[in-house]
Symmetry: D2
Subunit: 307 residues, 4 copies
């Protein structure tokens, strides 16, 4: 892959989209998120040759929200291995991302780790494992990213908690099936905390680069996940990373990826790079409008894809 | 990729599985299918360097069933382009493969072209387009495979029709929403016919090799689909190719693929090869028990995967 | 109960409603039904003291549609007794009247005999029992009503068949679960035929009066159903007679009853009378707009109710 | 109705059932309920002629659980009138009594006031209306029953709260749709409290006798509800009083009624009597096994029914 060419395409597509109407709505159900500037638009790419390139608001911080679910999953997978799949599945959900219907049919087993219910079960596992899960998780993220300054936003965590009735419902519902072991309020506090983790686009790509690098950190080649585990995380990102729009993302973009409700997206080209976008206005499926648009044009113009 | 190594792994895994218990049940709802020898077990691989290797019952013919849905989709996509997506989606179904529930919620729009409802809508499109759809479809398949001897099995088509109440229900249900344009009985006849298409493992890999070759036939480099269309078909195979087990297949195998109820499976490694397996006993999700097992071990041992 | 008072209330309420806007939509999915005059409005009451009173278009004929399901159920119940409940339930459906979702969850067992799926299963039972089910059913109806001139409308039956894709779907779906024993097309033909049965308001009340008379015909005291069976049919009419609006009807009207898509309604006050209304414009739940309105005011003003 | 005859039938049926096997399971999900003696079996009847008759454990106290939902509904209906129906429906639920699926489809509007979700919305209304809802509700019940000694069981309320994850989920889920106005924990505390209300069979029939008496207390003819409201409550009891077995109860028993998870049942014959049964073993639908059995035989032998 020609990195100069990639940079050129990024610039072209970025400018093209910047000049088009920015459709969609910012997340409004979390008070603090609605205060973010909806016109923010940043891009960043980091390759496994350690090349970096960013554009626009790529240094603006935002809460990575559901993108953090990938990191909590990786940590649980690293510690507990395949046993985690006894308590949740690996199938696309096929319904809205916070649906309770599926849980009722499946007796409290979430269909995958990226819907809210699955992420709550992963949080529950980490709470059972660690004495100080919030601290341990943050240490893990700081280690993966080589960035000791990354932190939660207590303000955003509090804001989510104040409006998180749907997640309270989800967590107690799973608890009623016995698939949450700790007190729901403890699990929810941890969940809201990890969703509040703040990064900018550059920090995002450097954090997730190990998924493009066979599970190893680029800086010191330290293994975060095995090669086989990395492959599996990437497969899950492809089939389940974009809620009820995962098929569409695979179809149009063709890369493993994950979105967050604050408008962030990461995407992975295995053995090549990690790319991130930030643009807070969301389409009706809850994914960044400009983020999807950018990645579709970027992969079409570069012919980058895993397929 | 080292082809000699690949062959060795295929032989090892084949023999390993052959010596293990063959679990699962043959499809019994289609009378003719239950007459097939459940212990049949064949493997075949064809690479884009035109190397071929087969083992076991790789020359035994069987009806490719739902694998034919990939070919009818390719034909419709080739002819009508992106307009086909106005009448069906590209999202994993999230429920059993012949569920009517989803159709009721989505007003007759099937979630993807590989569930029965979606395949029926594709059939309807081809019927509207061609004067002799059965003949035209067969010509297309023969052309793609360079094999003028490929044919339907009238016996199997008849057998499926005699027991196809669920498909009759599906087709009339979609018709009631207006998303079938022709008479349901005409659509069903064509559908049963294409599911009855017979191939052996070798013929399967040669037919589907174009999906590993950027959309072009290997023999004469003739374009069946554009590169972008090919990428999209492969994405669909990955997210939707194995009914309600698609996520599991992506997770464990990590290749685009498609299964049929007679025990056939194809899988694609883009830019490398097409591999097929035939073993008629199915797991409870309706996919070949040994086929899945083989592909999981094969990709683990060779570290082949798109991720 | 004072019959003179009842008559007065009927006249008052009839005139009140006649002067209000006639909201709702006529059934349009059956071509022949959309030709009926939407402004038709008839009322008729017959008491077990053999008093009769009619108003408006009470002598205009219309197809009684789903009201016929009560008669086919009574015939099957009379012949086969409680064994019929092995193949269908007695619970309100809780979803739209022709939903396939419930059938999928319950493996082909319809929730009650008044949703289309349940009525199809009852038809199937009668076909298995009689050599000439259409003739036998008509004889039963003529006998119950003392009216040898009652008949099907072939024109309406044909019209329903031409547009009956949803019912074809339902019948084949139940067949796929094994709960239809005869060929779906045979069952459907009989079903469309009995829905086409034509009566006027007066004929309706005379036919159904036995449900207000402990199961006996008024003219000759002949038993159609036992007292216990009659009670059960009335209970079913109360809980399931108005599709997804049955609770509302019980709540506001408080009488066992049944509606048809051509705008007919019957209601029973046990030990007192049968009343019928005909007005073809339907509310969004598929029940006669004026019919419901009339019965609500009628029962409120007379304080008639089973509760 | 001959009261001497009624008493004789009650004795016969009681003894018959007492000598048969007591099937079913006691509620186990609430720790305190599983301590109740499962063999308790009491009957009591009170007529509007003020005749009373009790048998067996008719003076044993138990928590009336969901039967209390009828009283909270009556209080809300009395105070707020028909406006309460803007926030919940009057249709049978068609699914298990604590299902979240229906709520998701209907955007937080419970289908009726007797499923848990509906009862929670009624609790929310009372909390918004009263400064001290627990006290006011208890005063209402004591007034209706002429019994100042009736009280909650704090022990049972606490026990339910400790295991009430499913109800916590329900309440927060409805809150997420905006149909709970107060804090979920406040609503839940009140809900668990009213379910813990304790009565014996005799107290139950005396409390609910007003529903058989046109809405008036027998002792002083004071109006609790209007005649029209009483009719509507009875209609709701008939269509929705027994969870997913309401149709069966109407079909076999034919009386408005309500069951509780501690094994209590009340049934109303309008203008005649109120009858109660207590037997803690439940069938799989969550209703008292012996209670249903008793009422079926009782109504069959006396030919009592509203139909």
């Amino acid at each position: 892959m020609d990195y100069t060419e990639i940079k050129k395409v990024i610039e072209q597509v970025y400018n093209l989209i910047l000049n088009e109407e920015n459709k969609g709505q910012q997340a409004s159900y979390i008070p603090e998120l609605s205060r973010v500037n909806g016109e923010s638009f940043g891009i960043h790419i980091t390759t496994i040759q350690n090349e970096e390139f960013g554009l626009g608001d790529n240094t603006g911080k935002f809460s990575i929200q559901s993108i953090a679910k990938v990191l909590s999953l990786c940590l649980a997978f690293k510690i507990m291995g395949e046993t985690i799949w006894e308590r949740l599945g690996v199938e696309p959900a096929g319904t809205a991302f916070n649906s309770l219907v599926q849980l009722e049919n499946d007796k409290g087993i979430p269909r995958n780790p990226f819907i809210n219910s699955g992420a709550l079960v992963i949080c529950d596992m980490l709470i059972s494992h660690f004495r100080n899960p919030e601290e341990e998780f943050l240490n893990f993220v700081r280690d993966v990213s080589d960035n000791p300054l990354l932190d939660y936003s207590q303000k955003i965590a509090d804001s989510e908690k104040s409006a998180g009735y749907r997640n309270v419902a989800l967590c107690n519902f799973i608890k009623s099936f016995g698939n949450i072991r700790n007190e729901p309020s403890t699990v929810l506090d941890f969940y809201f905390k990890l969703c509040s983790l703040e990064m900018n686009c550059g920090e995002l790509t450097r954090t997730f680069l190990f998924l493009a690098n066979g599970g190893n950190k680029l800086s010191d080649n330290k293994s975060i996940l095995t090669k086989s585990q990395t492959k599996r995380i990437n497969a899950l990102l492809l089939t389940c990373g974009f809620y009820d729009e995962s098929g569409e993302f695979a179809f149009k973009v063709g890369l493993p990826g994950k979105s967050g409700v604050d408008g962030g997206i990461i995407a992975i080209q295995p053995n090549e790079f990690c790319i991130s976008i930030w643009s807070p206005r969301l389409n009706e499926k809850g994914n960044s409008y400009r983020g999807l648009k950018f990645l579709e044009l970027f992969t079409t113009n570069t012919q980058v894809s895993i397929f």
